[in-house]
Amino acid sequence: MSVVSPGLLVLADGEEFEGDLFGALPADAAVGEVVFNTVMSGYQEVISDPSYAGQIITFTSTQIGNYGVTPADDESDRTHCRGIIIRELSRTHSNWRATGDLNSFLVEHGVAGLAGIDTRRLTRHLRDRGAMPGAFGPDAAVVRSVAAQATTTDGIDLVATVTGTHRTVSSTNPEAQRRIVAIDCGIKTTIVRHLAGLGTVEMVPASMSADDVLALQPDGVFLSNGPGDTAAVGYVVETVRNLLGRVPIFGICMGHQMLGQALGASTFKLPFGHHGGNHPVRDLVTDKVEITSQNHNYCVDLEGVADVAVTHINLNDGTLEGFESTAHPAFGIQYHPEAGPGPHDSQYLFDRFANLMDAH
């Protein structure tokens, strides 16, 4: 166990929280947009999810690190978040799958941590005031000054920082011979694993043009999850617009929002955001309720958009969780059917994508 040293978290609105630093100790301060997640298991998947680029993640679950870490659960080959905030770090871990402990994992990946704070007070504050920038580190004066100057991620192209180079992942199912181009805006490993069950996956940089995508002769195009504000990635939206009607498209999370924008929809910020593994969503096609993994602050507004149908809604607040184009073979899902972490209830959506590709 690392030696604990006192640390202070300061939010942009001046709210302060005392705790102990762990993980990679920040030289001056870890700074980012402070968000929370309510999953009760799966901290490693969350920490390694590229969608959290630029953010500091607060876990509402109080005991973190209990089962250690294992490379098999990484959602990316490196971490992209700016820090994590927890109530208590386990100094030991116990699970047959573990290959190491969380603290060493964070040190290795350069992620700072703050433990021991009243995470419930912080969560209620973020719920009531909205996610906001903040900073934590060892020196109160430095942290206060950094926090006061911290800016939101609005308008910043974080996708450019997480997208990868063109690489091919072979189909894991000998029966599945489809070719899928996945536009990588920060794609999670679990999504790649699901897609590879449907065919060979060509993961391409977010900046690839529609013509270059089509030159790969895909049976379908997948639009991935990703960090930050879709307003900053207009170039991907443009690509999607050029692909519509020419190839079947499936978008998840940020991919869903980009598809919506390509079809003419706008997005708006939710009052509370959705951040957990327990949100009920109704599939309007089957009328079934599924428990879903969610992580988004923005929502697509289909008002006035022609040729679209709502397919999924969130039962907590009635907001849009999925839609399809009635003019083109394309659909989007706001939450995370791949899980990682989270329930498996929605994995049928990958089959829907397969069917869509086969039908076109």
Binding site: T60, R120, R124, N316
Partner: protein
Amino acid sequence: MPKRTDISSILIIGSGPIVIGQACEFDYSGTQACRVLKDEGYRVVLANSNPATIMTDPDFADATYIEPLTADVLERIIERERPDALLPTLGGQTALNLSMELAESGVLAKYGVEMIGANAEAIATAEDRERFKVAMIEIGLDVPPSGTAHNMVEARAIIERIGLPVVIRPAYILGGKGTGIASDSEEFERMAAIGLDASPISEILVESSIAGWKEFELEVMRDHADNCVIICSIENVDPMGVHTGDSITVAPIQTLTDVEYQIMRDAAFACIRRVGVETGGSNVQFAVEPGTGRMVVIEMNPRVSRSSALASKATGFPIAKIAARLAVGYTLDEIPNDITAIRSATGEIVRSTPASFEPTIDYVVVKIPRWAFEKFSGTTGILGTQMQSVGEAMAIGRTFTEALQKALRSLEHGRSGLNADRAEITWDQMPDAAVLVECGRATPDRIFAVESALRRGLGMEAVYDSSRIDPWFLDQMLRISEARLDLAGRTMESMDRRSWRDVKRLGFGDSQLGYLWGENELAVRAARLAAGVEVTYKTVDTCSAEFEAETPYHYGTYEDTTEVGSSSRDKVIILGSGPNRIGQGIEFDYCCVHACFSLAEAGFETIMVNCNPETVSTDYDTSDRLYFEPLTLEGVLNVIDAEQHSAAQGGGRLLGVIVSLGGQTPLKLAGDIPIDLVLGTSAESIDLAEDRDRWNALCDQL
């Protein structure tokens, strides 16, 4: 789909007298069901032989029969009342078995009574262990190797095939009656005979023993549209080999990765679907081999159980209430989650989230059973696959260490936490070898031996080898040991705000600290408060604060801010009766609940303090505000302080504390509560009646 209109009257069977393995949790579930079904406009017919229950109060059902719970009597009730439906899943094993009897004898068919919730086929699949295993294998789930026997010859043949040790599990039994582990052939002969005798159909399952594996439980709910959710995940601190009702358990699960947890969740859904429980709650138990992660299904209860009561209180999700609504046709997404409901001034729900979700919690819950071996001569005090506890206490803390120590003092068995009290000397005087042996014996006191062994430095490995308690839990206990050694080496005066907060966050009670420092508990309290470290109350809200919740269901912990609200009404604190024990059972909960109802009617704000998860009093809607806290001096003084604080800030006045309705538990505290706050009989008069010497003197004088 809305509720069913083709049925208008429903028969609910209670669980009868309190027996080991079946206690007031079924009063809790039955009461909830009666209330809900009446609210929905159904005529409720209730049969129960136990008059010490809330549910048998005249108000809760339209017709109440306090009659012996036998198939004959029930048939006569059915003949007279002609209910359209029978809800068999809320009255424990008693109601389930009686319902099966009524189905098999043709009584239900004869009078056209439909079983709702779970049908006879589903109950048989879950309860008949051989059928259950076949069903699980059929859906691709792993189970321990086993065979079914109806006599000794068949039983011996199974041993030839799978070898020893084995667990013997009789079919259709309650609380693990007649079950046991046999390690040699002599034991096997004896236990198999007992098992065959215990099963009403003379059937036992002989199963390869997986004692020492990790044990988990999932509480599942399903509606008739096949929507399934997990309400609560539970991990047993005691490994396989001890009945889950006799195990120390923790919610949520602590040592599974999400990958493993989701596989278990899928398996629980597959299980409830295959068994065919159409609507309502079920409990599915799993074992996991620590070194390989191999997961097997152990069993499933197709009904509300003691674990459901625990899961309800641990998460705020009212399983019995929702199960009753599901049984009459609602789906999960049609039922609002009471806890996140925001109501208008007139009480109407303005906004809420639906019950079709999975609670997520930002705290840790620990349940510890309470036994009464001292009352039964001839018992060994060794725990096994047969349930022996008479009650239980639950505690909530932000961390495992805090919840564990709170739960231990909630038991009212003379312990203040995980040792650091006078009783620890029993263990500390034992030689190292003996204490390690004690770590391996599943007794009610094993956990204290484990702490003593860890504290004297015998090592995690040695303690694990002996106890098979997961290293994560052992390390948590070691942290308590280390802090305690550190505390013993310092003085109360040397404690600064940070150190006070650290030890309170590890769950140490003021009385433990007083023991370590040779100080009076109240002196410790005074010093702590002077250092600015006072308890804060957080809220049980089913969603880890993701949504607003106004539900006044609180637990104490040591954080930055407190969430207690208050109305302008004058308020009264009612102290509950703690865990069930012999001589203090459900009747005191009955008294406390009625005090709540009457005071509320008279316009007072009611505040309940209790730590027994099986009770009606710890339902979040029984009182205006519930503190799920140990009934110790510290616990009660903290609540009084919090309520006086909110009174000082403009809330209603605190009129006082009712100590006379919860049995001996609150009476013992009466003397230390400020005298002007004790409502009703004074502490002095209580003492005069309770203290034998003073009582005798009084009698002589009179």
